[in-house]
């Protein structure tokens, strides 16, 4: 029996490398200027899964990602690094999901994949930072969770030992399977693409991608089924509509305010010596410094 690992990954706007044009004049994010990237901690999660696969015979890794059809890029990128396959959960009905609706959708997709040993996800996505979807998915799958994982200490077919990175220390815990792990950014970085996998999976595509390209893969998929990136709709994962998207999200945005900063009475200084010296002198004489 093979050992089944599922990795949850998300495509996110790159909020870390904000350049000058990242903000529009009205103070909102210029999404067009932010490239879509593999959520960083999900890459740490993928590496942990690959490490486990290296240590357990017959282990397989399947990626689940939720998002628009271009999120197939995440599955392909994972395959280049050693994942066996993956699926994009894509449906207009899931738009506007909060973390509860997201975890419901993802858990339905996990259930469709059948029995699993491990689900591994990044701790949080950089576009929300909530770290909620992992534990919520674990609850819906009714399995134990190990959050903030930094390192696999020991792993075999029966159990896994994980070092957790907490605010002020570390903890090593042991769990049997099935179990869900969320991986901290301090874990090992993901390995690079592998040339052999790159060649093998370069042509892997989803149906929507092919439609956009106007290509037909039916013959190719018959011959090489691993080149098909599955796309599942809400109906495919047997999701109840009432638990998806905006309808399935108990949290609502009541209002969004642009913060208008009223100028404080601020002294403007130049970097000239006398300005800086005067400021320092004032701070010292008023006992704020020293």
């Amino acid at each position: 029996m093979s050992f089944k690992i599922i990795v949850l990954a998300k495509q996110v706007p790159d909020t870390r490398n904000v350049g000058k044009d990242a903000m529009k004049e009205d103070g909102t994010v210029n999404r067009a200027a932010l490239p879509a990237i593999f959520n960083p901690e999900d890459l740490n999660a993928l590496e942990m899964a690959l490490h486990i696969k290296d240590n357990i015979k017959d282990a397989t890794i399947t990626i689940i990602t939720m998002g628009p059809s271009r999120a197939a890029e995440i599955v392909r990128e994972s395959m280049y690094r050693g994942a066996d396959g993956g699926v994009v959960v894509s449906d207009r009905k899931v738009a506007g999901s909060d973390t509860l609706a997201t975890s419901y959708t993802i858990s339905q997709a996990v259930k469709k994949l059948g029995k699993f040993d491990l689900v591994i996800a990044g701790r949080q996505a950089i576009d929300g930072d909530t770290a909620q979807v992992g534990p919520q998915t674990a609850e819906k799958l009714e399995c134990p969770q190990i959050t903030y994982a930094e390192e696999v200490i020991k792993v075999d077919e029966k159990k896994i030992q994980i070092k957790r990175r907490l605010e002020n220390g570390v903890e090593v815990v042991e769990s049997k399977y099935p179990c869900l792990i969320t991986v901290h950014g301090s874990a090992k970085e993901c390995r690079a693409r592998n040339a052999k996998f790159l060649m093998k999976f370069k042509k892997a595509k989803s149906n929507s991608e092919l439609q956009e390209l106007g290509q037909d893969y039916s013959a190719l998929w018959n011959e090489k089924p691993y080149l098909k990136i599955d796309e599942w709709s809400a109906a495919d994962i047997m999701a109840e509509d009432g638990r998806l998207g905006l309808t399935g999200s108990p949290t609502k945005v009541k209002k969004i305010e642009n913060v208008v900063l009223t100028q404080k009475e601020s002294k403007i200084l130049t970097p000239k010596d006398e300005d800086i010296n005067d400021l320092m002198k004032e701070l010292i004489s008023s006992h704020i410094l020293g």
Binding site: T28, T99, P135, Y148, L166, T251, K255, L261
Partner: protein, 340 residues
């Protein structure tokens, strides 16, 4: 209306954690506004002075699950206890620290109860709401206010239809304030075997090393904070140098720590630490709202920035328009030669 609940974390020293006392202080105010009681939930064993610590903060009922197996924290037993208690008592509001414990526990509970949870709130208020489409009116909802992704935006999140209304808050965001030394409550011991299953203890803790935090910027009176504008790890050293000289602590922005210029433990802002020092020197910090919510209550703010329009300048008492790499050495030099 039902009560307000705060999940209280227990420290290595078997005390109620500061973040929980801050939340209890806030919870008291929310409960007063709603005219309800404030309840605490504590899971653990040998917790010191649990009653004499919590009552002065205005706690009316302490729900105490006392069992040696409940310390240190583990997800499943704490999850079972809190969810079962919530199913019985149906809280109006439930607050958790946005710590490695609260962020592990609260989402699992919210998922089970199918209710909403807002992470890292910076303000909690009570307010009303009218649904636009239906005209339905809601009284006394919890406004869960937090900066939203995308620049200078503050979002007010509500959870009109599900209970409890759940939120997590970082340490240092709310103020720890006692109500009265004379306030008294009652303690309600929970029979742990009625609230947990044997399976809940399936995870084995092999070892733990918990240390005192080495970096402690929360209580610092002087903070020198470096932003992305420091340019590099090398440039960031100047921030350390100034902080050393004027006996302050070093902070960083999210951008600076993500870029590897400084440790994540030093990150100030919504997803980092909230600080209120006497003096805050922002070096090459643009001042996104996520950063400002973590430092805007500082008594005096100095901003050093090449961009005269950086948002941080608007909340600064002094703005030096110039290159940090040029300005910081001048500050260091003056201080060194004019103090003992």
């Amino acid at each position: 209306m039902n009560n307000v609940f705060v999940y209280c974390e227990v420290t290595e020293e078997r005390l109620i954690a500061d973040v929980s006392l801050e939340l209890v202080s806030k919870g008291r105010k929310l409960a007063d506004e709603l005219g309800v009681k404030l309840e605490a939930i504590v899971c653990g064993d040998q917790i010191k002075d649990i009653e004499s610590i919590l009552y002065p903060f205005g706690v009316d009922i302490i729900n105490y699950a006392k069992d040696s197996r409940l310390f240190p924290y583990q997800t499943l037993p704490h999850f079972s206890i809190v969810t079962k208690l919530f199913q019985e008592k149906k809280p109006e509001i439930a607050l958790f620290g946005a710590t490695s414990v609260g962020r592990d526990l609260a989402p699992r509970i919210a998922s089970f109860l199918r209710t909403g949870l807002t992470a890292d709130c910076t303000t909690l208020e009570i307010g009303n709401h009218t649904e636009n489409k239906t005209g339905k009116e809601y009284k006394n909802l919890l406004y869960q206010i937090r900066p939203a992704f995308g620049g200078n935006i503050i979002a007010t999140i509500i959870n009109p239809d599900c209970r409890p209304q759940m939120a997590t808050v970082r340490e240092g965001v709310m103020k720890k304030e006692t109500l009265s030394g004379n306030h008294k409550g009652v303690i309600n011991f929970l029979k742990v075997e009625d609230y947990t299953k044997n399976d809940d203890f399936c995870l084995k803790i092999i070892e733990r090393h918990i240390e005192e935090q080495k970096i402690n910027i929360k209580g610092a009176q002087i903070i020198v904070c470096g932003g992305y504008g420091m340019g590099s790890k090398e440039g960031f050293k100047l921030v350390h140098e100034l902080a050393d000289v004027i006996q302050g602590e070093v902070g960083g922005t999210r951008a600076a720590s993500d870029a590897g210029m400084t440790e994540h433990e030093r990150q100030i802002g919504q997803t980092g630490v909230t600080v209120r020092p006497k003096l805050y020197i922002a070096c090459g910090v643009s001042g996104a709202v996520q950063h400002r919510v973590g430092m805007q209550d500082s008594s005096k703010i100095i901003s050093i920035n090449t961009d005269p329009n950086a948002p941080i300048n608007k909340i600064a008492d002094y703005t030096i328009i110039g290159d940090v790499l040029e300005v910081l050495p001048k500050m260091i030099k003056y201080y060194k030669s004019n103090t003992k």
